[in-house]
Amino acid sequence: MIKLEFLSLSKNESFARAAAAAFIAPLDPTIEELADVRTAVSEAVTNAVIHGYRNGLGNVMMELTLKGRLFTVRVEDKGCGIEDIELAMKPFYTTGNRSERSGMGFAVMAAFMDKLKVESKLGSGTTVIMEKLIAKPLESEQNE
């Protein structure tokens, strides 16, 4: 397991997704699996930065775990929290500026990962937990 903690700065988003990609690299994921994980992590971290801490400063915690080929990533902020999680997860729903945000972040996380769970409490923060099973590469199946 790897734990990372970094400041809620938008420039740290690229670091977070690169770290997640490097973490699963030993499983020899496909290009698509790598892209899915990078994108989902980017969504969760971006949300922590712009919504959780409302572009102010705070710490974002990221935890990466592997159980066999099951990858789990946990992204946590101690920011403002979400009032209605179900509503927030609806595609196109956004509390951001309508002309700048599409409200698709959670929909992307749900589509690109196998499992998505959101825990949040108003005033104390939000945790996003995502899972993805990284398929076995074909060559290694043949080698067995």
Binding site: E13, E32, T46, V49, S99, E100, M104, V108
Partner: protein
């Protein structure tokens, strides 16, 4: 993220290069809007995504915003050369459906 603009007739092409996320979104947004407005008479804004190696929903927001701007100005937005990761995101988020609907609308006029 780097942007290069090319104008040919009434088409303005913005060639984007790099990773498109929240970090560069607002800079990108204002660079494109400034170019569109200062060139004048742009009918088509073409976003060439061939060199975009990564994009998330912040990029979708930038694209939808430019779509709205072009509609307001009476023009159109087009997208070209998206890599598979970007393509998957554009499909999922309904951007292609939106651009296609607009095209069909035009054809039936």
């Amino acid at each position: 993220m780097q942007i290069t603009f090319k104008k040919r007739g009434s088409t303005l092409t913005a060639l984007l290069e790099g990773e498109l996320d929240q970090h560069c979104a607002s800079e990108l947004r204002s660079a494109i809007d400034t170019a569109v407005r200062s060139e004048g008479n742009i009918e088509i804004l073409l976003l060439d995504l061939g060199r975009v190696s990564f994009m998330d929903s912040s990029g979708i927001g930038v694209i939808l915003g430019r779509y709205k701007l072009m509609r307001k100005l009476g023009g159109e937005l087009a997208i070209a050369n998206a890599q598979p990761q970007v393509e998957k995101l554009l499909k999922l988020s309904g951007v292609y459906a939106l651009l296609d609907a607009k095209r069909r609308e035009k054809a039936s006029e």
